[in-house]
């Protein structure tokens, strides 16, 4: 029954999601880019991408992009698009924007940053050769904050392509890096293992298992190092050292169950059965859907049996049998429920997904056997990918449905606007024409007067500045003169008097000429202001008139097109959801069947072991009175 310690080295690469770029408090900044970051920071990558795509498209379409507020941040925005796409699991598209930066005419450090980011994306997409090629494009000035990240990525690429000797010197140099703490130390051990340097690997795992961790990720990788070291030592029969390493794994971390289980096996392997009882007693109190807990339920009575405590062993086997039976019932119910289609419905419950611990809550919902084993299913990468795709599709479907409904509301709005404005517009247009003709007349008058002023500045013409009275007087004097001259013998005395009067007018005109010219200039300026006001009214009218038309004209075709596109996308999404859901159910059922089979196997073993323990316990009881 001893655990078959079958370990193999697997190059399993996982990448913790990159947090989106954070804009420091540098002002001014681009609002729309910052808005996209606001969504990305909350994990709402669809919203972030939708906004940033629009902003970048508008920026790229500008005649003078340098005047745009995004200009100083455009490279960062392009990088962020790549990060967002990657986080939104759009691997096919991720990297396009960054490639554009890389191939553009940009500063050396920005190009190097772009090459690093592209390599990171390619690494995540599994394009290892491309990723190495991108890193090879880095030359010259490299931003300080990514220098170690580049080297770490390079080392991991070497490891992923089975070149541990190339990775080793890099990882050695990166040890102790505050930002990466724990990870280079651990990966260096893996490089040694890849290079068949077991002793060096054990030594290195010891070092990685003792790093001073202050955050959850470093603590987890430290636990992982201790678990791996303990397991390797267990395999090679160094049970005491194995136990020491396994005891260093935290009791509450993600690797604690496995560590407790292995610690027990280390003691059992060393024939220290009392020692095994301690970790396994802790383990059997934990969640019974965990495989390690299920195994411990069988292992613990085995240890008691070895200690000749047969009665307790028989009782624990009996409890294990009950527990296995209950778990098998749950598995049965889960499988039936999944086959009935309830699993997919439970996964997309909105009220559950709003909770950050939604997986845990799903499992604890009453009357939902389909989700009892969800946490365990999530351990499978295939299941996780399929689930994430399914949830993304559901999210898209909800959006698309909402959009499809909103088109009718838009059309109502447009119709209401049309019904309101169309009867008003003919009257408004008439007013506009009147205003326009008045404006044109004023403009013409203004132009003539301005021309006159200009001429008078070159050649003074006082008569043009005569007042209305003076003009009337001059006209009367001209008439009088004509009448006097029309007589047979014009009266010289009268003509002289008319001449004196004309002289009086001319005197005023000439002596007051400059004063009158100034007044004329001032009046013209005032008139200019009135014309400007008229022009403003005219422009305002044109704008309002245009806005009224634009509020209901020109939407029919775009709405029709969008409605068709949304309809097609809904169809496509539903189709894919059905297929993805089917895959998800298959993966879940297959996984649960494996678990069921294992439990069946445990049950058989437990049944035999229980009978054996009862026999032994009875035999001991019989022997005791005889002795």
């Amino acid at each position: 029954m001893l655990r078959n310690a079958c370990w193999q080295i697997a190059l399993l690469v996982y990448v913790v999601a990159w947090a989106p770029a954070v804009l420091a408090d540098s002002k001014p900044r681009d609002l729309y880019f910052s808005e996209a970051l606001y969504y990305a920071q909350q994990g709402l990558y669809f919203e972030a991408l939708a906004r940033l795509d629009v902003e970048l498209a508008q920026h790229n379409g500008l005649d003078e992009p340098k005047l745009d507020s995004l200009y100083p941040f455009v490279d960062s925005a392009q990088f962020s698009v790549g990060d967002f796409e990657l986080n939104y699991r759009m691997h096919l598209r991720a990297g396009h924007a960054i490639t554009a930066v890389l191939e553009g005419n940009v500063d050396e450090s920005i190009r190097n940053d772009a090459a690093y980011r592209l390599a990171r994306i390619q690494f995540q997409k599994g394009q290892l050769a491309d990723a190495l090629h991108s890193l090879d494009r880095i030359h010259g000035r490299v931003p300080e904050n990514i220098r170690d990240d580049i080297e770490f990525l390079r080392a991991n690429l070497y490891l992923s392509t089975a070149h541990p000797d190339d990775a080793t010197p890099i990882l050695k140099r990166l040890q102790g890096d505050r930002k990466l703490l724990g990870f280079p130390e651990y990966n260096l051990a893996i490089a040694y293992l890849q290079g068949d340097r077991r002793d060096a690997a054990l030594q290195q795992l010891d070092k990685a298992g003792a790093v001073d961790a202050s955050d959850d990720e470093t603590r987890a990788i430290r636990d992982k190092a201790n678990l791996v070291r303990g397991t390797l030592l267990l395999e090679s029969g160094q049970f005491a050292d194995a136990k020491n390493s396994l005891d260093r794994v935290r009791l509450e971390g993600p690797f604690s169950n496995q560590a407790l289980l292995s610690a027990g096996w280390a003691d059992v392997s060393a024939q220290h059965f009392e020692g095994a009882v301690v970790p396994w007693n802790i383990l059997v109190q934990r969640n019974r859907t965990d495989p390690a807990v299920q195994e411990a339920m069988l292992a613990l009575p085995y240890a008691y049996g070895q200690l000749a405590v047969y009665g307790r062993a028989a009782m624990l086997y009996s409890q294990a049998l009950q527990a296995y039976g209950a778990e098998r019932d749950k598995l049965h119910a889960s499988i039936d429920s999944i086959r009935a289609g309830k699993f997919l419905k439970a996964l997309v419950r909105e009220e559950i997904r709003k909770d950050k611990d939604w997986v845990v809550r799903l499992r604890s919902l009453p009357e939902t056997p389909e989700t009892y084993y969800l946490m365990e299913l999530l351990a499978s990468h295939d299941f996780q990918s399929a689930l994430q795709n399914y949830l993304d599709l559901e999210d898209l479907r909800r959006r698309l449905d909402g959009w499809q409904r909103s088109f009718a509301a838009y059309e109502d709005l447009i119709q209401l606007r049309r019904a309101y404005y169309e009867p008003l517009l003919p009257g408004l247009d008439q007013q506009f024409r009147d205003l326009d003709s008045r404006r044109r007349l004023r403009l013409e008058q203004q132009k003539i007067l301005a021309g006159r002023l200009q001429n008078m500045l070159i050649a003074p013409r006082p008569e043009l500045l005569a007042t209305a009275d003076e003009q009337l007087l001059t006209t009367q004097l001209n008439t009088l003169e004509q009448r006097i001259n029309a007589g047979a013998t014009p009266d010289a005395n009268l003509l002289a008097r008319v001449g004196r009067l004309r002289g009086l007018v001319t005197w005023d005109l000439k002596t007051q000429y400059h004063e009158r010219l100034t007044q004329f200039y001032e009046h013209l300026q005032e008139s200019q202001k009135a014309v400007e006001t008229l022009n403003e009214q005219y422009n305002e009218f044109v704008r309002v008139r245009q806005a009224a038309t634009h509020s209901y004209v020109g939407y029919d075709t775009p709405i029709k097109r969008l409605r068709t596109r949304v309809g097609e996308a809904i169809q496509q999404t539903k189709l894919l959801m059905a297929r993805q859901g089917n895959v998800l159910e298959q993966v879940a059922v297959a996984e649960l069947q494996v678990r069921e089979q294992r439990l069946e196997n445990y049950e058989v073993r437990a049944r035999y072991a229980m009978a054996d323990s009862y026999d032994r316990a009875t035999a001991v009881q019989r022997q005791a009175p005889q002795q």
């Binding site: 920071q41 991991n156 293992l193 939407y555």
Partner: protein, 176 residues
């Protein structure tokens, strides 16, 4: 959470617990094909979202009347922002209560578009009220009025908030 960093771990995996024998039902190839199709749909829907956003903006918030209010928060400010209320010309424009994630996003340099509406050209009154909690646990309230003018172009107003410990004005109106 480590930021801007690829934390890549090459791990050891036990073969004691096989992941799943699901390959009988669905092939890896089918999974990949499905994954690619999901990505194509995402691209399509993003493109629709872009066009729809532009249509909505043109229809609901024409540029000559559009006023948008954005909120930013001083980074690393220990002050906990609970809610913001915006009144324009005495009328309630919006009221927003912040979740932990939203607050975190603001503190990381994100900017929230809290309101978009339509207003005529001319002078308008903006009143910003903030409710929160100080590091000491005491309640914190601030309110401030501003005047802004709206021309025929869209008006973007930035509200920069800061807690009392930062030395900055608690509510600043920034022109964007």
């Amino acid at each position: 959470m480590r930021t801007l960093l690829a934390i890549i771990v090459v791990t050891l995996s036990m073969c004691g617990w096989p992941i799943a024998g699901w390959a009988e039902g669905a092939s890896q190839q089918e999974m990949r094909s499905l994954d690619e199709q999901v990505q194509v749909v995402k691209t399509d829907v993003l493109s629709i979202a872009t066009d729809l956003n532009q249509l909505e903006e043109r229809l609901l918030f024409p540029s000559n009347t559009q006023v948008s209010v954005f909120v930013s928060l001083s980074p690393q400010d220990p002050f906990r922002l609970d809610a913001v209320q915006i009144r324009i010309d005495g009328e309630l424009a919006t009221h927003h209560i912040y979740s932990f994630k939203e607050l975190d996003a603001l503190k990381s340099g994100g900017v929230q578009r809290i309101f978009t509406g339509n207003f005529g050209t001319g002078e308008h009154q903006l009143e910003v009220s903030v409710i929160g909690k100080l590091e000491s646990g005491k309640d914190y309230r601030q309110s401030q009025q501003f005047t802004f003018s709206k021309s025929v172009d869209p008006r973007l107003l930035g509200i920069a908030l800061a807690g009392p410990g930062t030395g900055e004005a608690p509510i600043q109106l920034q022109d964007w």
